[in-house]
């Protein structure tokens, strides 16, 4: 299982990468492995705002649909349109294939999330 240092992680297996005032959000390697072949992604609308733990996207594998939650309150400023035609990118490169870019979040809220080491321990505890 791959885990990338320097990202923030949620218990629902989303990651957030901060660059300046923006955050990239995606799903982790653990999540894509658990879901299996991903065949469809329902992306949020740009400019849509969400509270922390709101369902903002849906990722569907062959067998099932999984709600994806925004770990912190934020506004969607961009979505990864490539996922509409190539949802399998979430399987192939989960830490490159972000789902959306967010802004307008409180930096304090990030501190409620896990760092890479804590997330790895958390995943191991689920085995």
């Amino acid at each position: 299982m791959k885990i990338v240092k320097g990202l923030y992680y949620s218990k629902d297996h989303e990651w957030i990468k901060i660059e300046g005032n923006r955050g990239y959000i995606g799903i982790t390697d653990y999540a894509q492995e658990a879901m299996g072949d991903i065949v469809f992604v329902e992306l949020p609308d740009v400019d849509e705002s969400f509270a922390a733990e709101d369902n903002f996207a849906v990722v569907e594998s062959v067998k099932a649909a999984a709600d994806i939650y925004l770990p912190i309150g934020a506004t969607i400023v961009e979505v990864n349109n490539k996922l509409e035609d190539e949802p399998e990118l979430l399987n192939k490169a989960p830490f490159d294939a972000y789902i959306a870019i967010i802004e307008d979040f409180e930096t304090d809220e990030l501190e409620t999330l896990m760092d890479a080491d804590a997330y790895e321990a958390y995943c191991n505890s689920l085995e």
Partner: protein, 359 residues
């Protein structure tokens, strides 16, 4: 922990993801549903289906006994032949859909859905004719499905059978494969040519390993229940619990070919005769025009947004790459488009032939 088949340790060894299915810990997939699906369409898929219920029905009147319980007419069935047949309640609702193998008219093998096994056993037991014995032999046997266009070459290379003696829906008993005697039938649930193998469970790991080794040059892959479902769905085959149920009769499910209303009497016949005169629902295929996946249970609406039915199965077809599904809707519905409610969206779909692979 659920029940385990004789191949559970193999599933773990081959890195299966295990899920609960009808009380069994079963592999949903090994490497991935898409690859397993493709292997079965293009080469060979190997499935452990030992969880399927298996009953022996023996006695002078065994064939008459089961013929009265199923909607298909077994009269013409000969020794060494198998037949698919829905089994119904008096009201036409479906108890289960089963396979009947005839060793002899007084010696039959019934293969039933794992999730219905106990219910089926009680149902058949309560309708036994004098001198007919029913025995559950599920736990004595390993059952494998070897499916796909190259499965013929593999099985011929490992046995001395000839296809001339093993036509579609026929079987041979006491075939020897790697010193193991087995029943081999030309049957399956994938829409591909293929076989099902029944043999003593003590040889399960040996046969499983041998098939994967000998099949590797053909591109064989172990396949889980995930691919089994996408394969049968693309081939337009029903799954009990989706397209058939206690409240969905076989005529509604489009299985009229297996309901012989002009043959022998059977339980449910009068209800199905009535139903045929005034059908209420039909199973249709559809393709989504909007992006999304319409899954089992999704509501179906007409263009005026009135609810008219529900999706029974839906997937993005691994073979076709299209988002397709089956839906149960009013028989009288004559438009060529429907709407499907997926979460907060109402997606456009057009009705298409439900033999998805044949268009």
């Amino acid at each position: 922990m659920g029940k385990r088949t004789c191949l559970y340790d193999m599933h773990i060894q081959y890195n299966a993801k295990i899920v609960d299915f009808a009380g069994f810990d079963m592999p949903i997939q090994y490497e991935g549903i898409m690859d397993e699906h493709a292997a079965t369409r293009n080469a060979i898929g190997l499935f452990d289906v030992s969880h399927m219920g298996k009953f022996e029905l023996k006695g002078e009147e065994a064939k008459s006994c089961i013929n009265y319980l199923v909607t298909n007419d077994l009269t013409a069935l000969v020794d060494g032949q198998a037949m698919y047949a829905p089994m119904c309640y008096e009201d036409g609702g479906t108890v289960d859909d089963i396979l009947v193998y005839q060793h002899a008219p007084n010696n039959l093998l019934l293969v039933v859905n794992a999730g219905n096994k106990d219910k089926d056993y009680k149902w058949i037991e309560s309708h036994l004719l004098p001198g007919v014995d029913l025995k559950d032999i599920t736990n004595e046997l390993c059952q494998l499905a070897v499916q796909g266009p190259k499965s013929v070459a593999l099985i011929l290379s490992l046995t001395n059978i000839s296809l001339g003696t093993l036509k579609y829906y026929h079987f041979l008993d006491q075939v020897v494969l790697a010193d193991v005697p087995m029943l081999i039938s030309r049957t399956g649930y994938t829409g591909e040519d293929g076989f099902e193998l029944y043999f003593d469970k003590k040889d399960a790991q040996k046969i499983w390993t041998l098939l994967l080794e000998e099949g590797s040059s053909y591109g064989i892959k172990p396949c889980g229940l995930g691919a089994r479902d996408t394969l049968r769905f693309e081939a337009g085959m029903p799954l009990y619990g989706n397209e058939l149920s206690e409240t969905i009769n076989p005529l509604e499910a489009g299985l009229g070919y297996f309901v012989k209303l002009d043959g022998e009497d059977f339980i449910g016949k009068s209800s199905l005769l009535e139903y045929k005169v005034q059908p209420k629902r039909k199973l249709v295929g559809f393709e989504l025009m909007d992006k999304g996946i319409a899954r089992h249970g999704a509501q179906v609406l007409n263009p005026d947004e009135e609810r008219i039915g529900a999706v029974t199965t839906g997937y993005i077809s691994p073979t076709l790459g299209k988002s397709i599904g089956l839906a149960l809707i009013p028989y009288a519905y004559d438009k060529d488009n429907i709407l499907v409610q997926v979460r907060k969206n109402r997606l456009e779909a057009k009705i298409i032939n439900k033999k998805f692979l044949k268009q």
